[in-house]
Every structure is written in C-alpha cells, then in structure tokens.
Symmetry: C2
Subunit: 453 residues, 2 copies
Amino acid sequence: MTQRRYLLAESEIPTHWYNVMADVGPPPPPLHPGTGEPVGPDMLAPLFPMALIGQEMSPERWHAIPDVVRDIYSMWRPTPLHRALGLEAALGTDCRIFYKYEGGSPAGSHKPNTAVAQAYYNQQEGVTRIATETGAGQWGSALSFACARFGIEVKVYMVRVSYDTKPYRRAMMEAWGGSVVGSPSRDTNAGRAILVRDPHSTGSLGIAISEAVEDAATRDDTKYALGSVLNHVLMHQTVIGQEAQKQMAMAEAYPDVVVGCVGGGSNFAGIAFPFIAEKAAGKEIRIVAAEPSSCPSLTRGHYGYDFGDTAQMTPLLAMHTLGHGFIPAPIHAGGLRYHGMAPLVSKLVNDGLVEAVAYAQNDCFASGVRFAKAEGIIPAPEANHAIRAVEAEVEAARAAGESRTILFNLCGHGHLELGAYQQYLNGELVDSELPQSDLDAAAAAIAGMPAIA
Amino acid sequence: MTQRRYLLAESEIPTHWYNVMADVGPPPPPLHPGTGEPVGPDMLAPLFPMALIGQEMSPERWHAIPDVVRDIYSMWRPTPLHRALGLEAALGTDCRIFYKYEGGSPAGSHKPNTAVAQAYYNQQEGVTRIATETGAGQWGSALSFACARFGIEVKVYMVRVSYDTKPYRRAMMEAWGGSVVGSPSRDTNAGRAILVRDPHSTGSLGIAISEAVEDAATRDDTKYALGSVLNHVLMHQTVIGQEAQKQMAMAEAYPDVVVGCVGGGSNFAGIAFPFIAEKAAGKEIRIVAAEPSSCPSLTRGHYGYDFGDTAQMTPLLAMHTLGHGFIPAPIHAGGLRYHGMAPLVSKLVNDGLVEAVAYAQNDCFASGVRFAKAEGIIPAPEANHAIRAVEAEVEAARAAGESRTILFNLCGHGHLELGAYQQYLNGELVDSELPQSDLDAAAAAIAGMPAIA
C-alpha cells in the first residue's frame, strides 16, 4: 500500500513562527488616512496588545512560540499531510497531489493557529474582552475557542449572509461562550449607518471589521482581533508550511507548485510563506493563490492604498483591492468575501513571486464534491477554490506532458456548510459574471488614494 | 509539556479484527420466530453476503482485514488517543483520563470502520445496491461514503425525528451519492402500516430496520446492512480498542476502567472487546456501558428473546430489550434510540463482565459542553453519555480517595448536531421520567417470547 498520511510527533510542532518579511522585505507601510504618514505602534495600541504590534513590524526572521501556545496547539497539531491517492485516481493523473489538512482543529480550520496566539498575548497584557468580525464563522469560532481557554470574553460581528445561512456556526461559538450578532448590526454607529442606507444589507467582511474596530476603539476593556490580512496573523499560520516541509521530506517529495485559496490571505500564507523563503533562496517552485471570481481582488483589483474596512476606520493598507465600498456577491465561501488582500500577499503577487487565479462558485463546488467522494473529507467552500486550482494544474501538466508534484492547503472542513452543498446538489447556485463596470465604479471611489511608491 | 496525543504509524493499523466470541463464547443463537429453531446461514443469505454470515457465526479469534479495507482505513486510521488534560483540569481531578477519538473519520464517527468492510464484502459477491436504516445519520453517512468507494448504490431509511432535525446529515449522505428517505416512509409496507396508525410517527431504529430489511428482502439486486447489534459489525469495530491498547502502552498507562456509550453496542464493543479479552484472562479492569435513561435497555430492560425490529421481520435475538414496540423519546442522541442491544453486549452484562449505567439528556449535554470548552472537540450527543459516565467515575474515585486511569471512546463529533446544542444552551430540552408502567406495557408485548436457556 502507498502511504496516505504523514504524521509528526508532538515534539515536532514548530518552535518558532517564520516571518517572511526577513526574506522579502516588508510591504509598504500602513498610512494614517489624514496625514498620509506611516502609522506608528502608538496609533495601533488602542486596538492591539504591544506584543502583536511588535510582531507586525518586526524584521526578525524567527519568533519563538510561547510554551502555553504550543501546548494548546498540541490539542490538534501537528496536523496530518495526506497524499491524495483517491483524487489522483479520480482525475486519472500521474501527478502526485499532497494536501495539508487543517480541518481537524477545534474550530475546523487553520484559524485557531493565530486565535490561540492572539488570545495569549491579549491575556498577558490584561485584556478581558475582544471584539472581532467573522465571515463564514471560522474565525469567530476559533477566537471563541481560544478565548475560552484564557478566560477572555468575546463579541463576534458575523457577516449577515453567513449569520442567516450558517446557524450551526453560531451555536458552535456560543457553546464555547462567544457572543454573536449579525453584521451590519444595531450595536455600532458603523452598523446603524449601513442599515439606514440598506436595511437588507447582506453584509461583508469590510463592514463587520468596521463594527468590531469601533467596538474596541470605544471601550476601555476591549481590544480588537483580526483573523487574517495583518502581518502577525499571517506569521502565526506559518506553522502549517513548516510542518508540511518536514512531511514532504518524509514522503521523499518536493512540490513543483504550492496552492492555497485566498480571501484575506492567512491560510495561503500559512502553507506558502515557508516555501517563499526557499523560492527567494533560489529554489524552483511555483506558488498559486486561488480566489473567487466574484471577489477577484488579486486578478482584477487595483494595487494601491485603501482602507481595510468599509467605514474607513482603519489605516490605509497597501494591497490589491476592489475598493472598500465593494460588496461581493453572497457566495458560500464567506471567508473569501473581502474587498482587499493581505499587504504581504499583495506584495508577493506584485513582485512576481506568487501567481493568482480566480474560479466561479459552481466550478469550485463541483471540485469539492469530486474531492469528497475521492478523499472522504467534505471541504470548506473556501478550500474548494484551492482544489479547483489543483485540478487546473493537473490539466496543465497533462497538456504539457509533465508529471508535477502539487501541494495544497485544505484549510478546513465543510461540516457546517452542508446547506451550501445541498443547494449546489439541487442546482440552486447561480454564477453571475462580475461586469467590469462594477469594478470600475468601485475603483473610482479609491481614485484619490496615495499610490504605492 | 505533558503529551496530549498518542499517534500510531499507518503500518500499525491492525491487521486483524478481534472476535470476542473466541474468549467468552457466543451469545445464545438467533431463533426463527415461527419454528423457534436456531437460524442457519441459508436463512440470512437473502440479506447478507456469505462472508459476513461466516463472520457472524465464527468461533475464530482473529479475522484478517482485507488489504483493500486497510488501505481505505488509512484515510483516517490509526485514530489518535488523547490525554484529556483540559478535562482533568476542569474537573480538578488527579485521575488520568484518556480518550480514543473516532470523529476524524470521513463520516465523523466510528461507523466507517464497519461500513467499509461491509461494502467490500458485498462488492466481492456482486451486490450492486444496499438498503439500510440510520438513526442520527452517522451510519447512513458512513455507508454512503463506503459504498461510493465501491460503486454500490445506497438507500437509507432515516429515523423521522433525525431526518427533520439534522438536515446536514442528509446533505452529507447525498454529497456521497446516497439516497435518503424519512422513516416511517411510504416506500415500504412496514412504513405505510405505521403511518396508518400514527401519521406523525417520529420513527425509531426498530421501524427503520423493518423498512430496510423489507426493501432488501423484496429486491433481487439489494442486500441489507446493519450499522450495529450484529456480531460481525461489533467485530469490525475492534480496530479501535486494539489501537488504544498500543497507545495506552505508549502513554505508560493501563485503564482501571473503560467506558463507552451504548445504543446498539458497536462503538462500545470497539473500545471494550479487546479489553474484555484481557479481563477474561484475569486482568483487573472494569468496563462500563452508558445508555440514555429514556431508552434504558441494559439498566431497566428484560434479558430475553425479542425481534430486532418493530415490524417483526428479523430473527429473534437474545438481548436486553424494552420490547420491539417501544418507541423512545425523540432525544438528540439518535444513535442510542434502539429498543434492544447487541446480543454480545447483553451477554457480557448478563455474565457480569460489563456494568451498565444510564443518564438523562440534559446532564449529558452539560458534560458535553464542559468537554467542548476543556478539550476543544464538540462531541456527538451519543458520546456525551460516555463523558457523563467518565465524570461519575471521577466523582467515585474522589469519594474513594483514589486516582483512577479512565479510558473512553469519543465515538464522534457533534458538528452536525449543533442545533441540539443550541437547544440545550437555550434551555429548551426537557427531561421526562420514563414511568415503570410504560416499560411494563412494552414488556407485556414480549411476554410469550422464548426464554434464554
């Protein structure tokens, strides 16, 4: 029998997070929207503990993972690397396909990797309450779980369309003690302002971020936590790629191409950044980011400065953006419905180190169902974008007469999104083209923003 | 850091299933209801492939696991053994608590261990369609997954109350290609007869078994598969306990007590039977089966012959039973809503080798939420009964001034039952006493059955 799963011992949980900025340089700095000056640590202090602000701006290559965090990681880490023998057979390919599976974590995705770290640093600095946003609910679940371990209260602003279509996610957050409200909500000025203009708003990550930031900025006992986008969040996820490097070596394989789906960028960064280090050092390897065609920030967006949120409360970030006013179609991959992109991922795409591709929802669910039948795991709708990109690689390899080794991140399971699968199986999902005129209109709103030097 | 998880390599997947009958003898034989004579292999042939009938009646201690089955097992096996450090801390105990976690399988429970084996033997004998029943949906999911791998069509009769309250389970079965109907259904004589008497029947495993057996018995292309109760099904689950024995040795621990929840008996058998062998050989170890107080076959039922189903289509089985007409309250632990019990488990209780306990639904959910907060895994409602029993062991150890080593089977996750957790958290679950008069009435219906010699 060919080996399917490559497991590491608990002692092989990485001891450090890897900071890709040490190898590729930092992205252009966040700017204060009023002055246009780079944002200093003091401006972020109302929102984040100082330890995380330090990580956000650090030039150091390695950051030691605190023992308490590693101990909690050991509840599910190291995660397995799977050889996708079933999918290879179903696709009739001689490519070797591997996937790192993060769905075995408490919340069912990669998100606890940073949630536990963030909860820890907040507790160390005496924080007793955290406000956050969540798209599909993966991040809100992860933070509720993590904060339960540190005795920290959590308020989750959940994007309305997910709040309505994913009731089990809410139950999961509440089982861990989190408090959840649909966003836009009546609990913040930002939410109320949106509801005045659009009482039936389906919400977006941009809106939910505005609400959570306002909550944290207006309460002394509360800080804010973000599940993606920021440098320190992406760094916490690099445990994924570091483990995958060891496990690929166990399999006596090295990837020709590494694939991840992207919304804010965190699971992609987790699998990809440790390989970016090797690519930067001269290794021949391609790295592909897969996004939804209904929210195509990397493939059809503008690379420039923009707000991270809809209500213009955050600093300006240098990123690929569709404009902070862009509201994506209510696709089921809620975690990918973000108008912008992590500045680090944007920089890597701009520098040519990462390729970007985009796929439509129905194609991605078709890939997800094929994967479920072949591999037994029902993927999160977000992860289906990565699987679709893997299938495209297999087709490209076939056309080129090559056998490629492909590694991708299966960032979560889809157990709480089975309603979406039911809709797909019933033929109820409709893909609509995103007209260029919509993107032009959204881009016009950010025409006056600073350019990236 | 104390080690939390004990992992085995793929090569350590057991090579054989363990047949407890070799050590404790077979249970009293199934009887033909008309003649009162023991049932022979030929009578079972319309329902099961001969290989499984052979296993059902085998005196051999070890049965080799086919390579194809072991290869599919390797998609999730060996499963991890966890030290419950979080729960130990939450309970403030110096008992050591370990759990074998079967929730990482495709269907999210232990059920694929036998589903894959059954699908394999059916395929070997040319079967192209299988009919089955499912309670909470765990078994139907597992069989849909397994049959997808062997190209076998599946029809699932799903207990009505679960069909209505667990829509995601249905989506999971359909994603794997299964066909699902609520039971009692209009697709069988047995179902139609029940609906005439009670159009709003919430169903039961006993009714759904009748429907699936009728389906298989009346179609040439179809055989029947059962997810629990029968000797061969329980034997397939012994991979759980065999792995746990190795993993406990890795942890340098040996259980004073082994705990599992029981409905039909299969996950309990999986963890317990390999330890029964050691107990039979003189090892001092207690083994506890935990059932719901609303369906207390072991603790308040009668040990005698009864039908395995409601419509009286099966042979008579020697077991603890509440009577084949007993319809349990619609608790969320649908997998435990069975009027009878595996003959092998019943025999072991009768022989004094296994202790039985019963707990109410709200107490079990309280234990489940405590476990979720402490260990990060949200358990299946069935498994909460085992956790409640573990907590009782901890209290008993405290009262006795002892430190005990406890091993239990966490047979599945509760991701698809989060609606039940929501109801529990909202205080909407009501425990009602099961009056003795109800049990007496159900028992009266089986008063004329043969006694066990």
